[in-house]
Amino acid sequence: MFSQRRWILFLGFLVFILLAGAAYLWAQEPHSVAEAAKEAVQEMEAQSSGICWWLWPIILFGFTFIIGIIAPLSGVGGGVLFVPLSTAFFPFSVDFIRGAGLIMALTSALSASPQFIRKGLANIRIMAPLVCVSMVTSILGGIVGLWITNAFPAGKHYITIALGLVLLLIFFVMLTSKKVEFPEVKEQDPLSKALALSGSWFEPTLGKVIEYKLTRLPLGLVCFAAVGFIAGMFGLGAGWANVPVLNLIMGAPIKVAVATSMTIIALNDAAAAWIYLAKGAVLPLIVVPSVIGISLGARIGAKLAVKAKPAFVKILVMGIMLLAAALNIVKGLKGLHII
């Protein structure tokens, strides 16, 4: 873990590089920025949106900053809020939104996973068999998602409708699922036993070490195959689906399920990211402001999560998802001229 001093050094390094870059820019081409901005403003003003080009990174930063605050409060990944809301409200192609959503989910998961592993909440013995299956299906999902939008002129509208339907499914899963804090696993299936799917962590609210074991690995593998495909196709982290499978089907305590889910997201999304990179679906113009926004917002959200009432936050997120689902379905149907 980075200490406070290392963080200050890290941020100082970033500021230094930026200042050096800005100084270089002004020294080499004193008028280029102003001229480029002027031209861009004129060009963009001619566009129907009427929004200056340089406003987009700022809007994205603000938008993802708010998502970053909400995500840790609600326990969902940033991608599951970013992808549907951006599809509904922003002018980007769904390809770029999925690419950015995937990189955001990847960054969040990579940042959180090492801490979870050190505390015993996530374990590579549990993660490895599940990822072996879901990584293949997430790659296939990424291929299919990009193929649909490029092979069929109307493909993006079907993708948008499908995303809305997936969100409706997430909404109902969240509505009906119960968070089982410490499920009781009396007996492990032979496969889970052979792979020693068990562990322990220190639970501060109880002041003691909790030991756990998982079961029903074959059913879990089937579920993770389906989840991986959807995650890769829509550029989602799929924490919303990993957690119920680990918690409700395989018997992982809720904290272990959340932590293991983050590690699985990190591995799956890292594999799926190459598809998006190779197809040019990752634009730094969209990704960089989004990653900075969600990273900074998540730090504030994590602090607020301690004080906020979980029930209120859950209702808030479910309301957002329902709205986004409806907007995406309507947008897709309009694109197909059905309504």
């Binding site: 920025v33 340089w54 990579l110 590579i124 190459w274 730094p284 113009l285």
Partner: protein, 145 residues
């Protein structure tokens, strides 16, 4: 804190995996953000921002055709333009995407010493990762444009 660490046993393979993932992640984030911000501040770029914004409502294939006039397939579009800030930012994203792969390779020796089945699973993961990375090069037409 000391009590917690004494009571919970985390095996060395997990610790190495976490450490390797953490280091590579920080490097990737730093590279992506630093060069990405320099790109946003107007330093030399492969994709001009104002052109990108005018075209970003198109699917990726049409976008790249209209903005740069190329057909994107593989990684050479950013690997051959490393003097451009946006392409350097893409290198940061590649480093991020490599973080779990590096973590698996780093933890592999420790895993092998304790758990044979896990060694096999790690081998499968490495093969899957390599396929994910190389697929756009060796099978560029499959499932794509």
């Amino acid at each position: 804190m000391a009590d917690k660490n004494q009571e919970v046993y985390v095996d060395p393979a997990n610790l190495i995996f976490a450490r390797a993932m953490e280091i590579v992640t920080y490097i990737g984030i730093a590279v992506m953000i630093v060069f990405g911000l320099l790109y946003l501040f107007g330093l030399p770029s492969y994709v001009e921002m104002k052109h990108a914004i005018c075209q970003w409502h198109h699917p990726v294939g049409t976008f790249w055709h209209n903005v740069v006039g190329i057909h994107i397939s593989g990684y050479d579009w950013f690997l051959k333009n490393l003097a451009c800030m946006d392409c350097l930012s893409m290198i940061g994203i590649c480093i991020l995407a490599l973080a779990p792969f590096v973590a698996i390779l780093a933890a592999w020796p420790k895993v092998g010493a304790t758990h044979r089945v896990l060694t096999l699973l790690f081998f499968i993961l490495v093969v899957e990762y390599l396929f994910a990375i190389l697929k756009p090069i060796i099978l560029p037409g499959v499932g794509g444009h």
